[in-house]
């Protein structure tokens, strides 16, 4: 019994040091050497100042910018300190109200747009930090941005096509556009 306890405690301590200290430090060391940009958060800098991460979405509401997925984080959308989804069930009236509100906002910003509304543009993402929208969701917004910026829509569609990532090897994931990167390209 005493032997069992001694073995349990000492083995627990030693395996903890190996898996809880040595292993994360080794991973950090190797990761920093091989992938320094990714290990530090894939930060995008503009004129030497960090303006975001290419993996973390930001809140856009200006008609001149592409808007991202609705975000359910609290208290503000795209709060990096409180990731999470809405967790609203499919029959919950609060879900239907929220979606209605988003449809109204899209319609108000571009009343003449009669296209069907892409689902990802009016439903909250799982993380609340989704950096992407579907190419359809970007194309849906192109007429609004063309008007607000007074530029030809063809130019915007070309920019969207240029920023569209396809399915990896035709199998993994969905085609998508990174909203922050697209807006940065639009601004500069």
């Amino acid at each position: 019994m005493k032997n069992l306890l001694r073995s349990a405690v000492s083995l627990f301590v030693l395996l903890s040091l190996i898996t809880g200290i040595a292993y994360p430090i080794m991973t950090t060391g190797i990761g920093r050497v091989l992938f320094p940009h990714q290990a530090a958060g894939s930060i995008i800098s503009l004129n030497g100042k960090p303006v975001g991460s290419s993996l973390i979405g930001q809140n856009f509401t200006d008609p001149k910018h592409f808007w991202g997925r609705p975000s359910a984080t609290a208290p503000q959308p795209y709060n990096g300190m409180a990731s999470g989804g809405s967790n609203l069930g499919p029959l919950n009236p609060a879900l239907l109200d929220a979606v209605k509100g988003r449809i109204d906002a899209l319609k108000a910003s571009d009343p003449s747009n009669a296209r069907p509304i892409p689902a990802d543009l009016v439903t909250a993402s799982g993380s609340g930090l989704d950096p992407h929208i579907s190419p359809e969701a970007a194309e849906y917004q192109a007429p609004r941005i063309a008007k607000a910026r007074n530029i030809p829509i063809e130019k915007l569609n070309a920019l969207i096509a240029q920023h569209t990532e396809a399915r990896l090897w035709g199998i993994f994931g969905e085609p998508r556009v990174n909203v922050l990167e697209l807006n940065l390209a639009l601004d500069h």
Partner: protein, 595 residues
């Protein structure tokens, strides 16, 4: 299911099945103390044993083995609890996270020691880097190793005859950790960093966002509680920000073992939906693969150690068939989307995107949800609470099957072997013969242990759900009205007692009521099964091996596979149909009625 989803599912199965034999043989080698890995690490291993006073060649009987495992896991509970309660005083806490409350710390400690990884807290705003590493990452390794060694002990019960011992728990735990979990995790974690998962010890980073964000900030009273007006609505004031805080930390190292060890506890609140935990479709595919990797390989390990690899393949085929059907059903209903949104003019061709990430879409999310709930992993890359009623039914049912279709690392195999014994017992009753499995007679004592192991979890799930739906503090946590609210509670207890850890996360579970009741469900759902399984291992090891005769039912053919699947489904259905009917089934019918 469309053709893209089928291609994804088939490719997943092909890649998974290719790994089974090499990894399964490797595991058999290391637990038998053979092969290149053991030779390479032999010196280091003996040094560890010397420091710990372990006599590596001294084996244990089942009772001592069970005692060692329990003791080892109790130390894990104490360590995780202490780290959370003291984190404010400890190093590696650049955000100055406060000490975690007593009930939340207790819940999390039990949760991670039992391989459940149910999470009542939000990682990015609660845990210091030290707690994440030395508490949670360590338990990700050690609880996974615990599950695997218990499975190995049960395999030895079948493989040995007239033996008094089932192995040395310390040696098994050390070898599984050092030769299996650690090297795979290290390579895997570095790959994940390459995909974009962060790995650093920096403080959180503030960035200046492109636009100003306007929002309503809840007003707090002098005691820090949110203020409410006369009608009970929160009082808010408008606020603006041009700063986004990006959380940092050693994420990749935790992510790798979180998936490989079927733990599932996210570094962040959004778990594998968070772009810093699962940045690309490729990282998503590899994460899915790593969940089933060890559970699938262990089937081969079982066959090889028991002296007939066909026995292991039979279990694996049964698991694969159930998995493929479940995945197809989940993806089908999610792809259909929510008809109520369709009525509002939303294009439904992309499916039900509420709670899902754009880079994953329906196929990668539905497949992930099926895998994570069949294995007792519990990581999520989409929010199950927002699934369609029948889309959410699949994860719930998957857990209710007892986490034996692949299941957790080790726990899936020992759970499935318990069902295999049950299946031969039922077959024996039908034809009036004494049942036997792998040359071992199944008698009253074995069936008692099997019955306890099978009945403990349904008892915890149903009693827990009943108590929570009657208690005011249980109902208070519900987020969604109607049948869905009941599903949230049912899901919580199903997830806890079966050591899964995923959630219908709308439920406000970080309360003393849920923290305590779910901790009880997790602990007994884990060790209420492990102890009878080890007793079964001891009893089987002590038996003589009887030769197969013409009257012996073969346990590697299609007949047995069908019988095994039937037994798993029947036990699951008999236990849970009434509860499922009150939750997702009612909700599905209501959706169609209103449609």
């Amino acid at each position: 299911m469309n053709s893209h989803a089928w291609v994804l599912l088939i490719l997943y199965l092909v890649v998974l099945l290719l790994t089974v034999k090499p990894l399964g043989s490797y595991i058999a080698n290391i637990v038998e103390g053979r092969g290149w890995a053991v030779r390479l690490g032999g010196r280091f291993e003996s040094l560890l044993y010397r420091l710990c006073g372990v006599k590596a060649d001294e084996e244990m009987g089942w009772l001592k083995y069970a005692f060692a495992v329990l003791l080892f896991n109790l130390l894990g509970v104490l360590a995780v609890y202490a780290l959370q309660r003291l984190q404010h005083l400890l190093p590696l806490n650049p955000q100055a996270m406060a000490n975690v409350s007593a009930d939340s710390s207790f819940n999390t400690a039990i949760s991670f020691a039992t391989n459940t990884n149910w999470q009542g807290y939000a990682g990015e705003s609660t845990m210091s880097y030290l707690t994440q590493m030395l508490g949670l990452t360590v338990q990700n390794f050690l609880s996974a190793a615990t599950g695997i060694v218990v499975a190995i002990a049960l395999i030895r019960g079948f493989a040995r005859h007239t033996a008094k011992t089932i192995g040395n728990a310390w040696v098994d735990l050390t070898r599984i950790t050092l030769y299996l979990l650690l090297p795979i995790s290290l390579v895997y974690a570095v790959f994940l960093v390459g995909q974009g998962i962060i790995q650093n010890f920096d403080g959180y980073k503030d960035v200046a966002t492109i636009e100003v964000t306007r929002y309503d900030n809840p007003k707090l009273d002098s005691s820090g509680q949110p203020m409410k007006d006369d009608k009970g609505n929160p009082v808010t004031e408008s606020a603006t920000t041009k700063t986004q805080t990006l959380p940092m930390g050693p994420v990749a190292s935790q992510e790798a073992i979180k998936m490989l060890g079927t733990n599932g506890g996210g570094y962040f609140n959004a778990n594998s939906a968070h772009p810093y935990e699962n940045p690309t479709p490729l990282s998503n595919f590899v994460e899915m693969l790593s969940i089933f990797l060890i559970p699938a390989a262990l089937c081969y390990t079982f066959g090889r150690m028991a002296g007939d690899t066909r026995q292991g393949w039979a279990l694996l085929i049964a698991m694969t068939l159930v998995f493929a059907v479940m995945a197809a059903v989940a993806i089908h209903f999610e792809q259909q989307g929510n008809p109520l949104l369709g009525k509002l003019g939303v294009d439904m061709s992309a499916g039900n995107m509420e709670g899902k990430e754009a880079r994953f879409g329906i196929a990668d999310s539905g497949l992930f949800a099926t895998i994570t709930t069949l294995a007792s992993c519990g990581a999520v890359n989409s929010m199950h609470d927002s699934f369609m009623p029948m889309g959410g039914f699949v994860p719930l049912l998957n857990m209710m099957l007892g986490e034996v279709i692949f299941g957790g690392v080790g726990s899936g195999l020992y759970g499935m072997l318990v069902f295999a014994v049950m299946a031969v017992f039922i077959a024996g009753l039908m034809i009036g013969r004494t049942p036997e499995y792998l040359g071992k007679k199944i008698e009253a004592y074995e069936m008692k242990m099997v019955s306890i192991a099978i009945l403990v979890t349904p008892l915890l799930v149903l009693a827990g759900t009943a108590i929570a739906t009657m208690a005011a503090s249980g109902v208070a946590g519900i987020a969604n009205p109607g049948a869905h609210g009941f599903s949230e509670i049912l899901y919580a207890f199903t997830s806890a007692a079966n050591n899964n850890g995923s959630a219908f996360a709308g439920l406000s579970a970080n309360t003393p009521f849920y923290n305590d009741t779910l901790a009880v469900a997790m602990w007994f759902g884990r060790f209420g099964v492990i102890v009878p399984v080890l007793a079964l291992a001891g009893a089987l090891a002590a038996k003589k091996r009887i030769a197969a005769t013409s009257g012996t039912m073969p346990t590697h053919g299609p007949l047995f596979i069908a019988l095994l699947i039937g037994t798993v489904l029947l036990v699951g259905a008999l236990n849970y149909v009434p509860a499922l009917a009150l939750g997702p089934v009612v909700e599905h019918l209501m959706l169609f009625a209103s449609h």
